[in-house]
């Protein structure tokens, strides 16, 4: 049995290595070798794949990487290694279902399968964004009042009481508490008092996280994200977050976000790195669920073709071999208020729900600008439900995803970033302004016609 105590022991006693050697001689080298050995190939015309054997190969290669590489602890420069029995114990004990949230607003979050006919759980919010304090409440309500949204992961606060929050300073505590206070208030006002949160986004270091382990802020039915650092790394801040929430009793969620073009290589190497990250993340953090977030080295967006292929192959590889509960991020280059965002949401969401992940988003403009609202996330939910209702299989999904991606992939370098939340919504009544609503309706019609889905 491996617990967080043993993880701390390993971080203090594991093999010593210089970080650069771990990056180049372990991660980069092994990812390349494994991609070559298993002949893993990315095909931009097959974003949603039907090749089960490739999914199994990616999984097997990822398992080997997990065993051979381990996780590098930045503080101690030591490698936290797990043996096969420890990783398998992590897989076997991983929850297949979880009850999140409370009362009427609780949901069963489950390990999604390939071409799963069950309704996916929809997680709404502009995760990863810095949202102005004065809009945080109405913006959060805009997500929570959407009946199709099951849980919330909104951004953090970069300004509190008019003061800029700096990482690892006292204001981080206040920003994180304020974020949670406003989320609670938003949930009450939206009539969703028990809705589950993935929150504490204002807590970049461990400070904010420590300050919200209380029913007043986070409930045990809520969750926080604990990242694996790029690639296959952690540090004491991340481990401290895990210790805190493990003892508090709320959910740990591993955020895995390897970079396409970084140490793991191209889309194929990143897929292998993803599997290793999920397996090691479970063994190390004991995470109840996971977030799959491929990053494109230039566009960032998960809607980039290479990133969607990753969501697809990783989702399938895990669903077939180690069914974890995985949320697939929907991060777009375009912002709310644009036409482009609807195509990106459509392609990314279809990919996710058909290949084993629940959609989490929409983080419009990749969280760079607070140009987001509940309405485009409603669209994400509608696409997800329509894809499942129409029993879309992988072949059919690929045709639609390729078609939708062709509408935006050449515009990702200069996307339409849309408009800020107050220009899209009446912030007092928290309803979309007529112009934004009209664009939503027209794009919904256009994408329904383009895809044949009953959105």
């Amino acid at each position: 049995m491996n617990s967080i105590w043993e993880v701390i022991d390993k971080a203090e006693t594991g093999p010593y290595m210089e970080e650069r050697d771990f990056d180049l001689k372990v991660v980069a080298k092994k990812c390349r070798e494994l991609v070559k050995e298993y002949e893993i190939r990315f095909d931009p015309n097959e974003i949603v794949t039907t090749d089960d054997s490739m999914a199994d190969d990616v999984y097997e290669a990822g398992m080997r990487l997990a065993l051979e590489a381990g996780i590098y602890c930045i503080n101690t420069k030591r490698i936290i290694k797990f043996d096969e029995s420890e990783i398998k114990e992590g897989i076997l004990s991983a929850p297949k279902e979880l009850v999140i949230g409370q009362g009427r607003d609780s949901r069963v979050l489950y390990a999604r399968g390939i071409e799963d006919s069950r309704r996916p759980i929809i997680c709404g919010g502009q995760a990863g964004a810095a949202i102005p304090e004065e809009w945080y409440l109405p913006m959060s309500i805009s997500y929570m009042k959407e009946p199709l949204i099951d849980m919330i992961n909104n951004g953090g606060l970069a300004i509190v009481e008019g003061r800029k929050v700096r990482t690892n300073t006292p204001l981080e505590i206040q920003a994180t508490r304020r974020e949670l206070t406003m989320l609670r208030e938003a949930a009450a006002r939206a009539g969703r008092p028990g809705i589950s949160f993935i929150a504490g986004e204002s807590s970049v270091s461990v400070l904010g996280d420590l300050a919200i382990a209380s029913e007043r802020y986070m409930r045990p039915s809520d969750a926080h994200l604990v990242a694996l650092l790029n690639e296959l790394k952690t540090d004491y801040d991340r481990i401290s977050k895990v210790v805190n929430f493990t003892e508090y009793g709320a959910f740990n969620v591993t955020l895995v976000d390897p970079i396409i073009g970084g140490y793991a290589g191209g889309p194929e190497g990143v897929a292998v790195c993803f599997i290793a990250s999920f397996l090691l993340g479970r063994a190390m953090y004991r995470s109840e669920y996971h977030v799959c977030h491929p990053i494109h080295f230039r566009y960032m967006s998960t809607s980039a073709v290479e990133c969607m292929w990753n969501l697809n192959i990783v989702g399938q590889a895990m669903a077939r071999n180690a069914p974890f509960i995985i949320m697939g991020d929907v991060w777009t280059s375009a912002g709310a208020g644009s036409e482009m965002i609807f195509y990106e949401i459509g392609a990314n969401t279809i990919t996710n729900v058909v290949t084993g992940t629940h959609p989490l988003g929409v983080s419009a403009t990749n969280g760079k600008y607070p140009h987001a609202s509940g309405l485009e996330t409603r669209f994400m939910a509608e696409v997800a439900v329509a894809a499942v209702r129409s029993k879309l299989n992988r072949k059919g999904a690929n045709d639609l995803v390729v078609k939708l991606a062709s509408e935006y992939k050449d515009k990702m370098g200069k996307p339409d970033i849309g408009r800020p939340f107050p220009e899209l919504y009446d912030v007092n009544r928290v309803i979309p302004k007529p112009e934004w609503n009209a664009l939503y309706l027209s794009m919904k019609k256009k994408i329904s016609e383009l895809t044949g889905l009953d959105i």
């Binding site: 990056d23 180049l24 970069a158 800029k164 073009g261 191209g266 990749n366």
Partner: protein, 220 residues
């Protein structure tokens, strides 16, 4: 082996990230009487330019760029002293001090920018991650940098970039350095609002902007 073949081999050694080959052909270039600066500009730099292009098209990835930079460094360790000895001068390289700023440990984006700057002939002092603003300034003063570049993936580390500019002003050093910022949450508008000189949406743009600024501000 004629001069062109030697220069091509130098370029190839950088492209393949082969340190031994790079050193070997640096020596061969000198033995063949090729001017060291010609070997650098028409051999090594040509290879690095190809590396930069390949990376931007995702034909190669960060580790290959890092290995190419290492190969170039190995060859330069032979060619630069030879240039000095010959009295033909050395490459007048512009200097960049770069780091992921205070509070942030995300460094891959910064590493990409640092590597691409190296690939384009800059002398780069990479101070790593979670770098206090004071350390960036001290290093810039120590090496006589032209550019101070700061990166972050965290919106809550962005204020430290403002602090960097304020501190430079307080110390009367603002005009001495070009300040560039970038990273996930950093926008062009925000960079301008804090008085940074340049911003890059990605590594390629960062290099382009650095070159333009050097020419415009420092006449280099």
């Amino acid at each position: 082996m004629n001069h062109e073949e030697i220069l091509q081999n130098l370029a190839d050694s950088v492209i393949s990230g082969d340190e031994e080959k790079a050193k070997d052909f640096a020596k061969k270039a000198l033995e063949a009487g090729i001017d060291p600066l010609t070997a650098i500009n028409e051999g090594l730099m040509r290879g690095m330019s190809q590396v930069g292009d390949d990376f931007s098209k995702l034909k190669i990835y960060l580790p290959e760029v890092m290995m190419a930079a290492e190969a170039m460094k190995a060859a330069l360790s032979i060619l630069e002293p030879a240039a000095l000895q010959k009295g033909t001068g050395t490459l007048k390289k512009s200097k960049v001090v770069i780091g992921t700023i205070t509070g942030d440990i995300h460094d891959i984006g910064k590493n990409i920018v640092a590597m691409l700057l190296r690939a384009n002939g800059f002398e780069v002092y990479d101070l790593g991650r979670d770098v206090p603003i004071d350390d960036l300034i001290k290093k810039a003063e120590e090496v006589g940098a032209d550019i101070i570049a700061a990166s972050t993936l965290l919106s809550t580390s962005m204020p430290y970039m403002e602090d960097l500019i304020s501190l430079l002003k307080e110390r009367g050093l603002r005009d001495k350095y070009i300040v560039m910022v970038g990273g996930g949450p950093v926008t062009r508008e925000w960079a301008a609002s804090i008085g940074a000189d340049g911003y890059g949406d990605d590594g390629e743009e960062a290099v382009k902007v650095a070159k333009e600024l050097l020419q415009r501000v420092k006449g280099k």
